[in-house]
Amino acid sequence: MTAQLLSPPALGESTLFRFATAGSVDDGKSTLVGRLLHDSKAILADQLDAVARTSADRGFGGANATGIQKIDLALLTDGLRAEREQGITIDVAYRYFATDRRSFVLADCPGHVQYTKNTVTGASTADAVVVLIDARKGVLEQTRRHLSVLRLLRVPHVLVAVNKIDLVDYSEDVFAGIEANVRQVGAELGLADVLVVPVSALEGDNVVAASPRTPWYAGPSLLEILETLATTDDLEGGLEPFRFPVQSVIRPQGALAPGLADDDGGLAFRDYRAYAGQVASGAIQVGERVTVLPSGRPTVVVGIDFAGTELQRAVAPQSVSLRLADDIDVARGDLIAAAGTFAETSQDLYGELCWLSPKPLREGAKVLIKHGSRTVQALVRVISGKLDLENFREQPASSLELNDIGSAQLRLASPLPVEAYARHRRTGAFLVIDPTDGNTLAAGLVREHPGDHEGERYSI
């Protein structure tokens, strides 16, 4: 629900921006999210009433609190009973608000036990991540870990909110010290352009509007920054080559939509055949040459259909159907790529694995890999190491445990068109799935192929 600060016509033109919060327990993530929702008028009266009642039951804010101080803003996102009872966030919560420029999808990611799982989940779809730091504590080990994970996942924008600035008397010196520290860690990790903002989630300083209590901070408020950052697709649409994982073949034959079967169109559609999917990256225009992988067959896109409208061009992340010039064998799981932009498919997969399951990974394990729209069996041949998140260096390892980020070499039952995540955010990502119970075990990032390993290959 959104704000009355917007006029509905403008909303129709607004763009979508996804961001996540990260930080340690009690840094104030939920309070910040609640503050953003509250100040952008996304919290409606009945929701606020419910939260006010629960806050009062707990005596939140104490006897002298007035107005909004009486409301525990964290309760706006801590939606599960256990969360309210324990005063912590257990699981990623998604919230929505809008300004007249943008609609926001916000993932509030909890910082405790399963922080890697939650941060990786929230960051995987985020255009930006806001990392919170408690102004009284400064940069912690956990901050470094979060920043490392964000670097690994190549989150386009990393913002650092130095929160609870009210508790350090809005001190410029404290802020400057933390900012310098953040920049140093950012430089070590190779994170460019980290924006650092002093905020009080509780009091609202620099969250939506610039605060008079931090006259020494000349930059924009957190929300102003979020309103103007480029989205992932804005940033990469012009740079990444066209990639289109085929979800299904649309070949209705007898099963035409009723409206179409009746008239002459029925005949025209009888031989209709198109490939449905979502543009993962880049753009495609009618007439462009493409290659279908893994077969490597070249062809030309002769039509781009969207629900009865013919498009000349489609860009990420549009869901469309492509018609191809040649009658070649294309099926779910194939990848249609711009011609001349794909080297080869491979049965060897080298990847970084963010291990998200309590069940450890051992060498020799059989797993499933979901990449694009294809799922294949795989054998874990070698676990070559894991990251020491303190210094971000790889150390030897032969197994991966919950929250580890390690690298492994897998042998696939059939070849996949994989490319390095470092260059292809969308097609370089995969899931590792447990074949016995179907659970998701890891988030995978394709690594550069370290050369030819023909001699080591064997079949499974």
Binding site: S248, A255, P258, A276, D305, R332
Partner: protein
């Protein structure tokens, strides 16, 4: 790793709904639908010349297949992105599950989902049946709308009837008379009898704090229960629909839409809804701070005065506990303006059952509710 359980999977090919009643449908993905909702398209199969693929696209900076420099950038609005995301999810579920179905009540969110499904499989038919858990406490115009829509799109309708459970003594009428909470058992039974392995729901995360925590593909165990503390991480746009025998998945393609998004999209796409979503005159009486319609299952008490008001509904459900709001919004555009300025959520404004406690929805979801 042991192989004690069988994965009912998730193959690489798309499979049609293979219900006995659908035996006539084409075997390979009874894709297809349509609409009347989309503009007919001209010159579909015209052979296009095999040009040198818009060679202009190969700029010095941009990779081939990337947006050509100078071409007008395609600006996608938030609605375009939400639509595209929902269609991607619907297509994934249809491709990876054997027997999907879509929860269809005639309410706006389910109508929206069905509209998205028609777009996802065009020019084919929607390749799955729709499922309605009928409380028996219906607004007649909604049931009429439901049947007309099913007919128009050539769908199969499966109904689970709360009334039949009550008649057989398998469910007891509640003291407050509302039937929304009674839908869980008929829903789970209908899923089991029809062996549905994926059920599309129109749930949105902005509706409720418990829903805000639910995944887009949400696994339900053998008892249909949701375990909020043990959910699979959902990464990128890679959805994991693996499940074992007896489990099923609820899929929520419009998870990321808000009530306002839904209305703006209904306006943009000119999607038809049951008339009670728009301003109309109705005999109502005030109860619990809402306007209740006078009807068979919703009778005023002696002290409750019946008046005629111009109202509309923000949600439609069990008529006995769904309230109307006073409104002059006669079309989708007017509703968009009204929703944008509203100070109450749709559930807070019109659902008596959701006001019961902070955890009402969470508790029902854990038991297997929508």
């Amino acid at each position: 790793m042991s192989t004690s359980t069988t994965i009912v999977s998730a193959g690489a090919t798309s499979t049609a709904d293979a219900a006995p009643a659908d035996a006539a449908a084409a075997p390979n993905a009874a894709l297809g639908v349509a609409s009347g909702l989309t503009e007919p398209r001209a010159g579909l199969i015209e052979d296009q010349p095999r040009g040198e693929g818009a060679g202009a696209a190969f700029g010095a900076e941009a990779a081939p297949g990337a947006a050509p420099a100078g071409a007008a950038p395609t600006r996608l609005t938030s609605l375009d992105v939400l639509e595209s995301e929902a269609i991607h999810i619907i297509r994934e579920v249809v491709a990876e599950f054997e027997r999907p179905a879509l929860l269809f009540s005639g309410g706006k969110d389910s109508v929206l989902m069905l509209h998205l499904a028609t777009k996802a499989f065009w020019p084919g038919r929607v390749p799955f049946p729709v499922l309605h858990v009928d409380t028996g406490h219906n607004f007649p115009e909604v049931i009429e709308f439901r049947d007309r829509t099913v007919e128009r799109l050539g769908l199969r309708l499966v109904v689970g009837s709360v009334q039949e459970y009550i008649d057989r003594g398998e469910l007891a009428e509640r003291a407050d008379g509302t039937r929304n909470p009674l839908q869980t058992v008929p829903l789970l039974d209908t899923i089991k009898i029809n062996r549905f392995d994926a059920v599309f729901g129109g749930g949105r995360r902005d509706e409720d704090k418990a829903r805000a925590k639910e995944r887009i593909l949400s696994l339900r165990d053998e008892f249909g229960q949701w375990d909020p503390r043990n959910q699979r991480p959902e990464l990128w746009n890679l959805y994991n629909g693996r499940h074992t025998v007896g489990q099923h998945v609820r899929a929520f393609p419009i998870s990321n839409w808000t009530e306002l998004d839904v209305w703006r999209y209904i306006e943009r796409e000119r999607i038809e809804l049951p008339g009670l979503y728009y301003a109309h005159e109705r005999e109502v009486f005030a109860r619990d701070g809402m306007w209740r319609a006078v009807g068979d299952v919703s009778q005023p008490r002696p002290e409750e005065q019946v008046v005629t008001k111009t109202v509309r509904y923000r949600t439609v459900g069990d008529m006995s506990c769904t309230g109307a709001v006073e409104s002059a919004a006669a079309d989708a555009a007017a509703v968009v303006v009204e929703v944008a300025a509203s100070t109450l959520t749709e559930r807070g404004a019109t659902r008596a059952d959701d006001r019961i406690s902070e955890a009402a929805m969470e508790d029902r979801k854990k038991d297997g509710y929508f």
